[in-house]
Amino acid sequence: MLKMYLSLIRIRFLMMLAYRVNYYSGIVIYSLNIGVYYFLWMAIYGDGQSLGGLTPGQMATYIAIAWMSRAFYFNNLDREIAQEIRDGTVAIELIRPYHYLMVKLFQGFGEGLFRLLLFSLPGMVLVSLIFPISLPGMMDSSWFYFSLSLLGGFLINAQLNILTGLLAFFILNNQGLIRAKRVLVDLLSGLTLPIHFYPEWAQGILSFLPFQAISYSPNMILIGGWSGHEIGQALLIQGIWVILLCLPIQLLWTRARKTLIVQGG
C-alpha cells in the first residue's frame, strides 16, 4: 500500500518536471512577489524599529519564508477534484483499489515536495542574496519544529482544498467558491499579513479558524518570534485541526458516494 502511494509521489514529481514553463516562471514570479511585499512592508515600517514585536529584519525573513512555504503547501487539489467530479472520472476512481482522497493527498504531497526541493530551496538562496534575511543556524532546533509545523500546514490546507473540491458534488459550479477560498486562505493564513497585525477582536476570531495554522505558525517558529511554550501550543493546535477537519471530509465523502450511486455514475 505504502509502495503505491510512494509511486504516486514519484509520478507527480515527473509530471511537475514535465511542465517546464511553469517551473521557470514560478521561480521568477515568487521572487517578484517576495520583493514587492518586502518593499511594501519596509514602507510600512518607515523609520520605526519594531512593529507588532517584529524587527524589519524579522519581517523580511517572515515574508520570504511565508512565500517559499506557500510553494510547498499550495496545490490545486480543489480544482482537480471538482474537475474530476464534473467530468465523471470520480466514478471510475471509486472502483479502483485505493482511497481516492488519499491518492489525491499524496499527489498533492508529491507536488509540494517537488516545489520545496526544486523551487523553494534555490528560490530561498536567490532571495537571501537580495534581501537582508536571517535564518537560524543549521543545527538550531527551530528547523525541526518548523518542518513539523510546515507539514501540519500542508495537511490543513490540503484538507481545506479537498473539502472545497468535494462541494462540486452538491454545487454545480463551485469555481467561484474555489477562488474565494484561495483568496481567503492567502489573507487569513498570515501569508500577506501576520496574524498579530490584525486588531485584537479579529485575532480572537482568527484563532478559532484553521487558516492561521497553515502559514502563520511555521513562519513564526522559524523567525524566532515564539517561545518554546508557544511553539508547543501552535503545534498542538495544528494537530487538533488536522483531526477535526477529517470529520466534515468524511461526511461529505460518504454523502457524495451515495449521490453518485443514486445518479448511477
Binding site: V21, S25, I29, L32, V36, Y45, N173, G176, A180
Partner: protein, 261 residues
C-alpha cells in the same frame, strides 16, 4: 459594425444561459465582492499600524485601489481566459472557432465573457467616492475625461498582457500556471510604486506595465503631478501592449497544432 451586432447576439445568448444557471451568477457576484473586500481589509489593517506609506495617506491609498478596480472589472468582464487551455485547446473547441467567419480572438472573448464582473466598476466608483469625500477633493470636468481615457488604456494593457499569456497555449498545450501568478503581480500596480526599488518600478512601468493600470493615472486624478507624464502615457502604453498581445495571438494561431494530436 458587424462585430457590434455579433456582440449583441452573443450577449443575448449569454443572458439566456445565465438565466439557466442563476446560482452561478450570484456566486460570481459574491466572490467578486469578496475579492474587493479582502484587499480593502489589507489596506485598513496596514494603516492601523502606520499613518502613511511613503507619504501617502490611508485615503489616498484607498483611492488608488478604488480606481484600480474600475479597469480591472472591465478587463475581467471581457478577458475571462483562465481556462482557455482546458476548454479550447485540450477539449478542442478552438477547432470549431476556427471554422467560423469571425476573428478567433473576438469569438473566444465573446464566448467567455462574464458581464456580472462589471459590478466591480460600481464598487470601484464607490470606494473612490468615499475616499474623495474624506479628503474633500473634487474632480473637474477634465478629470472625468481623463478618467475615461485612463480606464480604456488600463483595460488595454491588462488585456494585451493576458492575450499574450493565453497565446502560449497555442504553441504548447502543456498547462501553465502563469496566469494566476500574473494576477498577483498585476495587483501591485495598485500601490504607490515609489515605495518599491528601482528595478521593480522599472518592471512595473516598462515590462509588465501594471503601474499604468492603477497607480500612475490614479495619482494624477488625485491631483499629484509627480507622475503626470506617466499618467498621460497610459492610453499609448495600452495601445502598444494590446497590439502586441493581438499580434502574438495571430502568430499563435498560425502555429496552432490542432486538438487531439
Amino acid at each position: 459594425m458587424f462585430h457590434i451586432q455579433i456582440f449583441i447576439e452573443y450577449f443575448k445568448q449569454y443572458l439566456k444561459t445565465r438565466l439557466e444557471y442563476r446560482g452561478d451568477f450570484f456566486a460570481q457576484f459574491a466572490t467578486d465582492l469578496l475579492f474587493q473586500g479582502v484587499n480593502l481589509v489589507f489596506i485598513l489593517v496596514v494603516f492601523s499600524h502606520t499613518t502613511n506609506l511613503h507619504g501617502w495617506s490611508r485615503e489616498e491609498v484607498i483611492f488608488i485601489y478604488g480606481y484600480f478596480l474600475v479597469p480591472y472589472a472591465i478587463f475581467s468582464t471581457f478577458f475571462n481566459l483562465w481556462d482557455f487551455n482546458e476548454r479550447y485547446i485540450i477539449k478542442g473547441e478552438l477547432d470549431r472557432v476556427l471554422t467560423r467567419p469571425v476573428h478567433s480572438l473576438v469569438q473566444v472573448i465573446m464566448e467567455t465573457m462574464t458581464p456580472e464582473s462589471l459590478l466591480g466598476v460600481v464598487t470601484g466608483l464607490a470606494v473612490m467616492g468615499w475616499s474623495m469625500s474624506q479628503m474633500d477633493y473634487v474632480w473637474t470636468m477634465m478629470d472625468v475625461v481623463f478618467f475615461f481615457l485612463f480606464v480604456v488604456g488600463g483595460v488595454a494593457i491588462y488585456g494585451g498582457i493576458y492575450i499574450a499569456l493565453t497565446s502560449i497555449s497555442l504553441f504548447s498545450d502543456s498547462k501553465t500556471d502563469i496566469q494566476p501568478i500574473m494576477y498577483n503581480i498585476g495587483n501591485y500596480g495598485r500601490y504607490p510604486v515609489n515605495l518599491y526599488s528601482r528595478i521593480i518600478q522599472f518592471v512595473l512601468t516598462w515590462i509588465l506595465p501594471f503601474a499604468f493600470v492603477g497607480f500612475y493615472p490614479a495619482s494624477f486624478l488625485l491631483g499629484s503631478s509627480d507622475w503626470k507624464t506617466f499618467a498621460f502615457l497610459t492610453p499609448i502604453v495600452g495601445g502598444i501592449y494590446f497590439t502586441i498581445g493581438v499580434m502574438i495571438w495571430n502568430w499563435g494561431i498560425r502555429h496552432y497544432r490542432g486538438a487531439g494530436n
